[in-house]
């Protein structure tokens, strides 16, 4: 079992009982496909490209892959997707990736380095992440690498503010939802609920020590009293991922 297989499986399981899910770029695309075939067959997935109710015959290579459209329930233009669906608060869970996450679940997907005008690394930018955070009931984040550069005390740049950061700022409206409630990484799972609550380590993957996770986190990470160990993918989940959903390993690197 690879780390990305574990991440994808746990991301899919987190969608159990969710009705309307907004899927961003990368691993979320694969995770929602697995959830559809396992824990959440009735979930309505809305891709960032505007496709709703997709039932693709082949794995989408990105959120704007035309394979998503053939046989889908609908395709919305961007103005409807962003203004009616996301800003209109129609989404239960937004599923996003990010380069950096802070302890209250604000996200950076714009740049690395403190000099915004000459960043060390230019990242792709917000895409629809800001609107997903502001409009969705909650946000799940999946991160391939849990280290002090990605789980940081201070974001180099806050692209996508959680409600706590938004409350501290001035001008403009507050996000409608809880912000980031679940962060799934290659070491474990962190969760938070209330606006002023921090991310708390609630699960570690088999073989991972709590001290490893704390050492890999850029702030003094709180650990839940009810810490559990995650359950690895079942044979069926692995077979679906490897043989049915991503045989060419587009996402399962």
């Amino acid at each position: 079992m690879t780390s990305s297989e574990l991440l994808t499986t746990l991301s899919a399981r987190a969608l159990e009982g969710k009705h309307v899910v907004f899927a961003g770029h990368g691993l979320p695309t694969l995770a929602v496909s697995l959830a559809q075939r396992t824990v959440s067959p009735g979930v309505e997935i809305i891709y960032e490209s505007g496709v709703t109710g997709a039932q693709p015959a082949d794995l989408p290579r990105s959120i704007s892959d035309s394979v998503l459209v053939t046989g889908a329930a609908g395709v919305l233009p961007m103005a409807q997707l962003f203004n009616f669906v996301l800003q209109g608060q129609r989404v239960d869970v937004g599923f996003l990736g990010a380069a950096q996450v802070d302890r209250y679940g604000s996200l950076n997907s714009s740049l690395i380095g403190k000099d915004w005008r000459a960043p060390a690394n230019k990242l792709p930018g917000s895409g629809g992440a800001i609107e997903a955070m502001a409009g969705a009931g909650e946000i799940f984040v999946v991160m391939r690498r849990h280290n002090p550069r990605s789980l940081v005390a201070d974001l180099d740049f806050c692209t996508t503010p959680g409600p706590r950061r938004a409350a501290a700022a001035r001008g403009g409206m507050m996000p409608a939802g809880l912000g980031v409630t679940t962060v799934i990484t290659d070491l474990g799972i962190m969760t938070r609920r209330g606006i002023d609550e921090e991310l708390v380590l609630t699960a570690v993957h088999p073989g991972v020590e709590v001290d490893d996770v704390r050492a890999a986190t850029g702030w003094d990470l709180e650990v839940s009293k009810n810490l559990v160990t995650t359950v690895p993918p079942t044979g069926r989940e692995l077979a679906l991922l490897r043989d049915v959903l991503d045989p060419e390993r587009v996402y399962l690197r």
Partner: protein
């Protein structure tokens, strides 16, 4: 009115150095052939508006056509980074780039204001984002109806908007299906509009399915027959995305010299898009063929 013209004439007639040009299309129906023609004609100091930056941004930058980019995402689909853009932003190599960033929702609202001839558009998502500090054009106003402050973004009215679609009639009624992006809003916001299409069809074809029209002819200044005009992106029902090209691009664009050699050979070294397409050869295009999946016809029947 017959608005058909060639791509070279459309670009030569409607685009001038220094203008603001929108090229829209969300990973699908991207007007790549038009970007290549802008490169062939050596236009300079353009500002490009585009929600989802992709290989065409690297190409326009390396060709020296752009002084600025207005957008909300820059990347090469699932194949990685845009290395020419990163060199500009990270190291001002060879010159700096004026990159004006929004979220996707912010870009949508800019086009909506532009298309509606409003000075700005309200948006509820920016509170607490550093994009507000980075981009002075994102401002906030007091809700005149007694609510909270709300962020606003300014209207975007491109001098020229270019989009690609499946088909149009000679007058420029544009029909598209599949992922629709922000093409209609960007077209209505544009002062001039050029549309490239896979097929020019008879009026009767368009009139058999009027709900399929995303942009009416009165908005369009030039319509250009341009098969495979979105490659390496897909066109629903016509050809698939070319993932191999995107992967090769991410490799090639790491080296500025190889990138410029590619432009010399494939863009400057071709007379037009048809020659670019022909050079790749029939086998290449066979691999990108898609299987047909027709919709059930709808009944537009009216009064007896």
């Amino acid at each position: 009115m017959d608005k058909r013209t060639s791509l070279s004439e459309a670009v030569a007639e409607h685009i001038r150095d220094g203008q603001l040009v929108a090229l829209e299309g969300f990973g699908h129906l991207v007007p790549v052939a038009a970007a290549h023609e802008i490169i062939r004609q050596g236009l300079r100091d353009l500002t490009l508006a585009r929600m989802t930056g992709d290989v065409l941004i690297d190409q326009l930058l390396a060709a020296g056509c752009l002084k600025g980019v207005i957008g909300s995402f820059v990347g090469n689909s699932s194949a990685g980074s845009l290395h020419e853009l990163r060199r500009r932003v990270e190291n001002s190599d060879p010159v700096p780039l004026d990159l004006e960033e929004y979220s996707h929702g912010g870009m949508v609202c800019r086009y909506l204001a532009g298309a509606s001839k409003l000075p700005f558009y309200p948006i509820n998502s920016y509170r607490g984002s550093d994009l507000v500090a980075l981009n002075g054009k994102i401002r906030s106003v007091k809700d005149p109806y007694g609510g909270e402050e709300i962020h606003v973004v300014p209207a975007l009215n491109p001098d020229v908007t270019i989009i690609h679609a499946q088909r149009a009639d000679r007058a420029g009624n544009i029909q598209a299906w599949g992922i629709l992006g922000v093409q209609a809003e960007a077209a209505f916001a544009g002062r001039k509009v050029i549309v490239t299409v896979e097929e020019i069809v008879d009026d009767a074809v368009i009139r058999s399915d009027p709900n399929r029209t995303i942009v009416p002819s009165h908005v369009v200044d030039a319509v250009v027959h341009c098969p495979r005009g979105a490659h390496p992106h897909s066109v629903q029902g016509y050809y698939d995305r070319d993932d191999g090209f995107s992967r090769r691009w991410s490799e090639l664009a790491r080296d500025p010299r190889r990138l410029r050699d590619w432009l010399q050979e494939n863009i400057h070294g071709t007379r037009d898009h048809a020659e670019y397409i022909a050079r790749l050869g029939p086998d290449y295009w066979d691999r990108l063929q898609v299987e047909a999946a027709f919709s059930v016809p709808v009944n537009y029947g009216g009064r007896k």
